[in-house]
């Protein structure tokens, strides 16, 4: 399977990466080389094989059902969360206007 220029531009748009025609054209042969190379996986007989979900058997744990069970991942740290924001405003993340 190979991709064409409109497909490359569509992928870039899905990935939210701005890309002009020249950049997309430069990426086109690279992506096709890589996709052509991974194509060989199609020759493996995988009938009856389940896709891998976990390399080491593990169970999903539940944390204690209390507020701030772990203070490091709990709440009450608004200033820390905003500390690296490019445009913090009034205790929120500022973004360009989305509704006129």
């Amino acid at each position: 399977m190979s991709v064409d220029l409109p497909t490359v531009k569509k992928i870039a748009s899905l990935a939210r990466i701005a890309m002009d025609d020249a950049e997309a054209a430069a990426l086109l042969p690279e992506l096709n080389n890589i996709l052509g190379w991974v194509e060989q996986l199609g020759e493996v007989d995988v009938s009856g094989v389940e896709p891998m979900t976990a390399v080491i058997p593990n169970t999903l744990r539940l944390r204690d059902d209390v507020v701030d069970a772990d203070p490091l991942t709990g709440g009450g740290v608004r200033d820390k969360i905003l500390a690296n924001a490019p445009e913090p405003q009034h205790g929120f993340f500022g973004v360009p206007k989305v509704i006129e």
Partner: protein, 494 residues
């Protein structure tokens, strides 16, 4: 008195404990070595004050006869993939330039609690994507090694933990953290003549480590000796409820149980790793490895891992797929770079920020990942790759019926020159052909130096073990180390 920067982790820990020198003297020695090694570009941020503060804390504990910790008095380099509170953490990317974490990663916090100090944040391939440390936004890391042809070609330190491998082999850090997604600890260790171990997936917490491919990412130590790796891995490992894939298993005292006696162990040699056109010098070092392990009492057996050739293509679907999802978080809203063109809306801001903030290799992988996860292609690429991954893990599972460990080369060649492979992504990916299968199966694997090739460059041997059996991996590493007698070090030119 010997130069303190020539000492190993073990020697520093013991020397600080018995008062041969102070932790502060050690930190000052390494701080000076770091400051004098700018041409290597191993560090993105230097933190000499952190190294001194940690050393003073250890010296103060010693004065009060308190325990100094597993890494008491040992200054280390921290790969820039680990979030460090109050110190810029970028994953060597422009999009995270200026990001100052408000928290500490679990692994780095454990190391500081064990008495280690931070010399600085180590350069790496951007978002850990690369095998030569040529994708960093902050410039290439230069290997301290040179070919013995009298030339001065700059060589790759391997990647993605290239700052780590350079710092340790150049003696500007006695040890460093690395992370390994598809060989990023083992290949750079091999390229620079040092040791590095990727533990079983889940041994070290991923909390606070910038995510690349979450089902593969594992942290591990890089140092000059097997014993040093055992000590540092013990300090890094352990259950962490903040990482959903962290293993709730006790951390063994690997150093205490280290033994180079391999009587009763069977070492598997996978026939599929003997690839056509293999570098004869790599093959020779592999043969030497077999002889050393046999000498240590092990039995060498031939094994088969039939799906080996599909590991690398499967990896280059799975890892980019996970990366495209993980890196969706860089949107210019919550942290990191924001590029807001005049009059742009929210969607344009996302796209402009990501176009400006990601390097070419990162974009390439996000694009591949986005494509293989997109509607209509998901089953043909991603599901197929995950099924192949099951078969690769099953190959190893069957092999463990016939052997206890696997011996293979770490990388298909010695270090190459910077720029020699950067135009061909697939040629670059092939560097990890021997490393990726163990990653896909989540197995512990280590690289130890085996010797020098004809150009005077280090070659590494890789030992792969059963899940959670880091002890046997380290033991075989020790057996090789004791017999390889690897004493070579790069001449100082920087």
């Amino acid at each position: 008195m010997t130069d303190l920067t020539d000492l190993t982790v073990t020697e520093i820990r013991d020397g600080v404990a018995d008062g041969s020198f102070s932790a502060r003297e050690v930190a000052e020695g390494f701080n000076a070595a770091v400051a004098a090694a700018k041409p290597l570009n191993a560090f993105i941020v230097e933190t000499p004050e952190k190294a001194l503060a940690a050393a003073d804390a250890v010296d103060a504990k010693r004065a009060k006869s308190e325990p100094l910790g597993l890494m008491g008095g040992v200054p280390i380099g921290m790969k820039d993939l680990f979030c460090t509170e109050g110190v810029q953490s970028t994953a060597a990317s422009h999009i995270l330039e200026g990001f100052v974490p408000q928290y500490e990663s679990t692994v780095s916090a454990k190391l500081w609690a064990a008495g280690a100090g931070m010399l600085g944040k180590l350069n790496m391939d951007q978002f850990a994507m690369g095998s030569s440390n040529e994708t960093s936004f902050f410039g290439n890391v230069i290997s301290p090694w040179r070919r013995n042809d009298g030339g001065n070609t700059d060589l790759a330190p391997g990647g993605s933990s290239g700052g780590s491998s350079t710092a340790v082999s150049a003696r500007i850090a006695p040890a460093a953290t690395g992370t390994d997604t598809g060989g990023s600890i083992r290949q750079p260790a091999a390229f620079t003549g040092i040791c590095g171990i990727k533990p079983t997936y889940g041994r070290c917490s991923r909390w606070g480590v910038v995510a690349f491919a979450s089902s593969l990412d594992q942290a591990g130590p890089m140092a000059r000796t097997v014993q040093d790796c055992a000590i540092m891995l013990e300090a890094m490992a352990g259950f962490d409820p903040k990482d959903a894939t962290s293993l709730d298993n006790p951390v063994p005292h690997w150093e205490g149980a280290l033994s180079g006696d391999l009587k009763g162990k069977r070492i598997g040699i996978p026939r599929e790793y003997r690839m056509e056109g293999i570098d004869p010098e790599i093959d020779k070092s592999w043969e030497a490895g077999k002889a050393w392990l046999r000498d240590a009492g092990a039995e060498i057996v031939d094994i088969s891992l039939p799906h080996t050739k599909y590991a690398l293509p499967a990896y280059y679907i799975i890892a980019p797929a996970e990366a495209s999802s993980n890196l969706a978080r860089y949107d210019g809203v919550r942290y990191g770079l924001r590029d807001l063109p005049e009059g742009a809306g929210l969607q344009d801001m996302y796209a402009a920020t990501r176009a400006a903030g990601f390097g070419p290799e990162v974009k390439r992988r996000i694009m591949i990942g986005t494509y293989v996860l997109s509607a209509g292609f998901y089953d043909a690429y991603y599901t197929q790759a995950q099924k192949v991954r099951t078969l690769i893990a099953r190959d190893f599972g069957r092999a463990w019926g016939e052997c206890d460990l696997i011996l293979a080369p770490t990388a298909p060649s010695a270090a190459f020159g910077l720029g020699e492979k950067s135009d061909d992504p697939i040629a670059m990916y092939l560097n990890d052909v021997f490393a990726v299968p163990a990653s896909l199966a989540g197995l512990p694997a280590m690289s130890v130096p085996a010797g020098l090739n004809g150009q005077g460059l280090p070659l590494g041997l890789q030992i792969i073990g059963k899940p959670l059996d880091e002890q046997s991996v380290l033991d075989a590493g020790l057996a090789i180390e004791q017999r390889a007698g690897f004493e070579a070090r790069p001449g100082k030119w920087w």
